[in-house]
Symmetry: C2
Amino acid sequence: MSNNGEGRDPALVQSVDRAVAVLELLARNGEAGITEIAAELGVHKSSASRLVYTLQARELVEQEGERGPFRIGIGMLRFAGAVSGQLDYVRVGGPVCSALADRLGETVNIAILDSDVALNVSQARGSSAVAAQNWIGQRTPLHATSSGKVLLAAAPPAEQERLLSGDLESCAPGTITDPVKLRCVLRRTAEDGFATCMEELEAGLHAVAVPVFGSRGDVVAAISAAGPAYRLSQKRMPEIVEELRVASRDLSVRMGHPVL
Amino acid sequence: MSNNGEGRDPALVQSVDRAVAVLELLARNGEAGITEIAAELGVHKSSASRLVYTLQARELVEQEGERGPFRIGIGMLRFAGAVSGQLDYVRVGGPVCSALADRLGETVNIAILDSDVALNVSQARGSSAVAAQNWIGQRTPLHATSSGKVLLAAAPPAEQERLLSGDLESCAPGTITDPVKLRCVLRRTAEDGFATCMEELEAGLHAVAVPVFGSRGDVVAAISAAGPAYRLSQKRMPEIVEELRVASRDLSVRMGHPVL
DNA sequence: ACCCTCCGTTGCGTATTGCGGAACTGGGTG
DNA sequence: CACCCAGTTCCGCAATACGCAACGGAGGGT
């Protein structure tokens, strides 16, 4: 009834799970009111209210003014700083992304491999006034993104096969859903040192990515530029790839990996 | 019994509140095991286990290897990117911090006033190889930090008095614990437009901070440089303050506040 | 190689606790 | 002025999360 019913892991603590769902909703929507939250989660307004109240007491949620909608709060920063390991990409990656985004005028992302998806850890918007959506923390399919292909192409063969044998969901008209074709693309990616993504994730969206190398020459992340198809034409790719390579080297150095 | 008993707001959702406490504990300690968490929160191991399990399912917590301690997980990034309002300091502040940290060779921080503490929202390390601790998200006392003094000096008198009348905890040999003396220091801070902090937070640690102004000429944040006492000598202060002022103006402009 | 200890998980019964329903408050609007 | 919509408060019920205790599984010490 309250939940959309069926398969809920009984070992989960319901209210905590719901609270996190609230946070995810706010992170996605930017802001929301109690009624909206309640509707989205499928719980009663009163439940939503208490959940939000609790999060608010810890400053994980804050509200616009006295009687406005709710958003993610500053208290969240306490945790953001504690994300270990991959944190470095976030902190160090920020400036690199910004600089490149300024130069290219396109949105730049840094992504890492996280189990079966590409996880965006850092982002900077290009000059376009379009309030492009926030991709940070977003998980995108490996086979339908430029970053994903780069990361996948560098993964150990066993891992690669495991992911290839999975379900290649179609996201947009151009998505590669054929394992054979994808395997071929990945081989080329490894050879070329970059991957493109032409309307494979979203119609009208193009992207290019190059790998970021760690200290042992292994691929630890991917840095990509994305923008509307008409701006990221095939013709412009070489130029962008070159810019991305520079940024990638910069990133490697800043992360303490000597240039090879 | 389970909780330390008395004054718990009954409107709080207990398990959610505990879950957040788990996250805060992890953020503070870096990592912890179930038993430790349970002990710290004063709950049973099984409760702690389920709480952590739930957070883990949402990737807010991850564990080192298969059987290791728990830490804050990558899923947290989803939210970090969504911190609105003050987020700007994080994104915009990053490059400014980096640039200044490079020039000075010292650690640079941006902090904002968050209820009764100074909250660090952005940081960049200086050239020193010392893996200085990460201050992002850390809450530091207003009376024992340079940023804190700057923020406090700019707070409305009523607020200032309220905080002054509270408990001025001693953090290091030099901490100012006398309200009268602190009031005097704050007056000077307001006049000079900067504040120092000489071994008041930690022995051997010096810092200087200047205010960052918002569009209405109000103080919205503080930017500070910190380093070992022998490097941040009294003599070097004027030079650093000047650099900080430049960065502060830069920051104001980037945040869309016209220079006055 | 054994046992012993320490840590985390699982099953279970209970009552605490969080939930949903409805009534209340308080602003904004026609 | 009356209506409407958003959020909070109160209350009683039972679902839910809790504590307990017993169970596996890894080290580590002798």
